[in-house]
């Protein structure tokens, strides 16, 4: 109940026309704290590097060079970010309802298989017919998969975290069965795959860049998700249910439908990631779909504090870390796990920073009220 009251009060204050300084103070807390935590995480990791006899300056210099220092680096980073945007949405949307869904990997994999399978059936169709249908199929399968997690939660009281994780293993096993069995292209000898998609059913690159259309679509999905959560009554109801499910029920909000809708929507986005992997990158569905994007997505969603707009920069940041992993291995002779350790430090720092909200007077609107 407390959350609802706070939210209503906050709304009332905003409506009452608080001064711009107060509004700025309130908003900047949500930016300054995570950024501060990020910098703290990077700094602590720097000390860790020094204990290993490596130079933090060289390390961050290489991260910049390989992740953000040139157009090639940006393309590298952004092409890695594309699937992560969708994967993070699959975590962030249910999280607004207080659900921790960590099995987006399953929806990505099955979405990719659905797109690949439909592509085989549709070979000969034009891009304008085939690609939307494939995307739709992928979103549908992903939505059903994660929607099932929501349904299990709502109707049977099954813990959604465990259910989604275990279901992702089932999804991967199912994918292996499908691409190694019924839908295997006999020509794919040592790498079992579905039949290669015809060129018309391959998603191309954005003109002038080596980035496929998954990136702009992913960004669009983040913006739409933000609008859904922040600008619609559905989103408002979801936030209330996420704050206090009993209060939401007492108020007569359709909690069941919200849970099903938000989990299914998250799953549909993850399914789209699979569609783009199959159609833009791999050219057929195979085991490479299970590349761990779903799990990196969890990290991104938590770092973005489940804010769909914040997912965009956070996904780029983590993609940039991953893009630099290679150069770090090659130039500094550090193992591949280095970037994982860095991600771990940043993750812990940002989680700890959650405890700091409201602790700094400078961010309280009251202080700045005129």
């Amino acid at each position: 109940m407390a959350d609802v009251t706070a939210m209503v009060q906050a709304g009332a204050r905003a409506g009452a026309g608080e001064g711009w300084r107060a509004a700025l103070a309130r908003k900047s807390e949500a930016v300054v704290l995570p950024v501060g935590a990020l910098l703290a995480g990077l700094a602590i990791f720097g000390f860790f590097l020094m204990t290993q006899g490596k130079s933090p300056a060289e390390f961050y210099g290489l991260v910049y060079k390989a992740g953000f220092g040139s157009w090639f680096s940006w393309q590298n980073t952004l092409s890695r970010a594309a699937p992560l945007l969708f994967a993070a949405l699959c975590v962030a949307l249910p999280a607004r309802l207080g659900l921790v869904v960590i099995g987006g990997e399953g929806a990505i994999v099955l979405g990719g298989v659905a797109a690949g399978a439909l592509g085989v059936v549709l070979s000969g169709a034009s891009s304008w017919v085939g690609l939307p249908l494939m995307a739709l199929a992928a979103a549908l399968v992903g939505g059903l998969w994660i929607g099932t997690v929501g349904a299990l939660r709502h109707y049977r009281g099954v813990n959604e975290t465990i259910a989604s994780l275990l279901m992702s293993y089932i999804a991967i096993a199912l994918m292996n069965h499908i691409v190694e069995g019924p839908l295997r292209d006999p020509a794919s000898l040592n790498k079992p795959s579905t039949a290669p998609l015809p060129d018309a059913l391959r998603v191309g690159n954005i003109p002038g860049a080596e980035l496929h259309w998954g990136l702009p679509v992913g960004i669009l999905c983040c913006i739409l998700s933000w609008a859904l959560i922040d600008r619609t009554t559905w989103g408002f109801a979801a936030r209330i249910a996420g704050g206090n499910v009993r209060a939401a029920q007492v108020q007569g909000l359709p909690v069941g439908r919200l849970i099903l809708g938000f989990t299914a929507l998250g799953g549909a986005f993850a399914g789209l990631a699979g569609f783009f992997e199959t159609s833009a990158v791999l050219g057929s569905a195979n085991a490479s779909l299970a590349a761990g994007y779903g799990f990196t997505g969890i990290l991104i969603a938590f770092l973005a504090r489940h804010n769909p707009l914040a997912i965009i920069p956070v996904a780029c940041l983590l993609a940039g870390f991953e893009a630099s992993s290679g150069l770090i291995q090659r130039r500094m002779d550090l193992p591949d796990a280095t970037v994982l350790v860095l991600q771990g430090f940043v993750f812990v720092a940002i989680l700890l920073s959650d405890a700091l909200y409201g602790r700094f007077k400078i961010f309280t609107p009251e202080r700045w009220r005129t």
Binding site: K191, A291, G326
Partner: protein
């Protein structure tokens, strides 16, 4: 090859005439003449120290570091997604690599093919792929070794050492390369005693330690007393099997240090020889053939030294059969032979020697293998 290097030379002359400013931004032109410097990039799908597939390649790469003028850059744990494309580009752009060895099978299509089209002056050498002149670019090559022969020799030793007449195989996926190894292992053992059976368990993944341990335990429970495997990292299988008291035969690399008493022998890649030859040729300005294959005789694969448990009879038989293979023309798959569903694989007098490309599309388990490909 010859026509393309000719056109490259023309291109070089053209750019030189037009002024070299534009040339500076381009990757270094491919080897028409001897080189004094070469940067080679190696990409692995797993960790470099996995006691298996990736370690075998990394040991090969390490052998190159002593060649003057050669710089080796490496990256491990690169997934078979857009990641590997970007890793290749990063090695080309940041390190100036002109010869790349993306070593995982799954890197080939579409990743290597796309990068090869984009960087026609960089050479891409791929392990295990089926390069075809009519389908694939000329700056791509594929190389592989007939390691099934090594599993056959593993089987010969296993056939002598097994008491239960049951041997076991932990396999990743039912694909041709793996099936050939399973079949060769059993046929090696059956060359000693035709009543031996081999149980195979597929884990479904190239690297999944938990399932590999479960599969190994299941094989031990079923009475298998010599176990080998084909997964990316044999470490778990070797340690688990040896812990259960079974003998083990290695794969990919030498795992004898993991089970000194129980390790019989192992089928190892000998990439250091293959890579050294390829790099030496490149440095001398000679092209690498696009399709390279070799076996025991060519030094592409080798056997681990026999372990202390191996009996003198087993040793004698192993050495005799190894000598026979080294002569060339040896066939593991030869008639009369049926698969384990009763279909005839090879009629009386029919034989598939190791170089037969038909073996690279194998889809059956031979009679005596307990297990199913699907």
């Amino acid at each position: 090859m010859s026509t393309s290097s000719l056109s490259r030379r023309h291109f070089l002359m053209g750019t030189a005439l037009a002024g070299s400013a534009a040339f500076l931004g381009l990757p270094r032109m491919a080897r028409a003449e001897a080189l004094d410097k070469l940067t080679v990039g190696f990409i692995y799908v797993g960790p470099k120290d996995d006691y298996g597939y990736n370690q075998a390649h990394a040991e090969g790469a390490a052998a190159l570091k002593s060649i003057p003028g050669v710089t080796v850059v490496e990256e491990e744990n690169v997934p078979e997604t857009i990641d590997v494309q970007k890793t290749m580009e990063s090695m080309i752009n940041f390190d100036g690599a002109t010869l790349l060895f993306p070593t995982s099978f799954g890197y080939f299509d579409p990743h290597i093919l796309e990068m090869a089209a984009k960087y026609p002056d960089v050479r891409f050498e791929h392990a295990g792929g089926m390069w075809q002149a009519d389908k694939h670019p000329t700056n791509v090559g594929s190389y592989f070794g007939y390691i099934g022969m090594g599993q056959y020799l593993n089987g010969v030793v296993a056939g002598h050492m097994t008491k239960t007449k049951k041997i076991g195989f932990v396999a990743a996926k039912p694909i041709p390369q793996v099936l050939l190894n399973v079949n060769s292992f059993l046929l090696g053992a059956r060359s000693v005693d035709p009543t031996i059976t081999c149980q195979v368990i597929f884990t479904g993944e190239w690297s999944l330690a938990v399932k590999e341990a479960e599969a190994t335990n299941a094989l031990c429970d079923a009475g298998c007393d010599v176990i080998t495997c084909h997964v990316d990292s044999p470490k778990v299988v070797i340690e688990t099997a040896a812990g259960r008291g079974a003998y083990v035969c290695g794969y990919h690399a030498n795992q004898s240090s993991l089970a000194p008493d129980k390790y019989l022998t192992g089928a190892e890649w000998n990439w250091s020889k293959v890579y050294t030859d390829m790099i030496t040729a490149t440095m001398a300005g000679e092209p690498i053939p696009n399709f390279v294959r070799g076996g025991l005789a060519e030094g592409f694969i080798k056997m681990s030294p026999l372990g202390p448990a191996v009996t003198p009879e087993a040793k004698a038989d192993f050495e005799a059969k190894q000598a026979e293979i080294l002569k060339g023309g040896f066939a593991v798959i030869k008639g009369p032979l049926k698969d384990n569903k009763g279909n005839v694989i090879a009629a009386e007098g029919e034989a598939f020697v190791e170089t037969d490309v038909k073996l690279e599309s194998m889809d059956y388990l031979v009679e005596g293998v307990l297990g199913s490909t699907s």
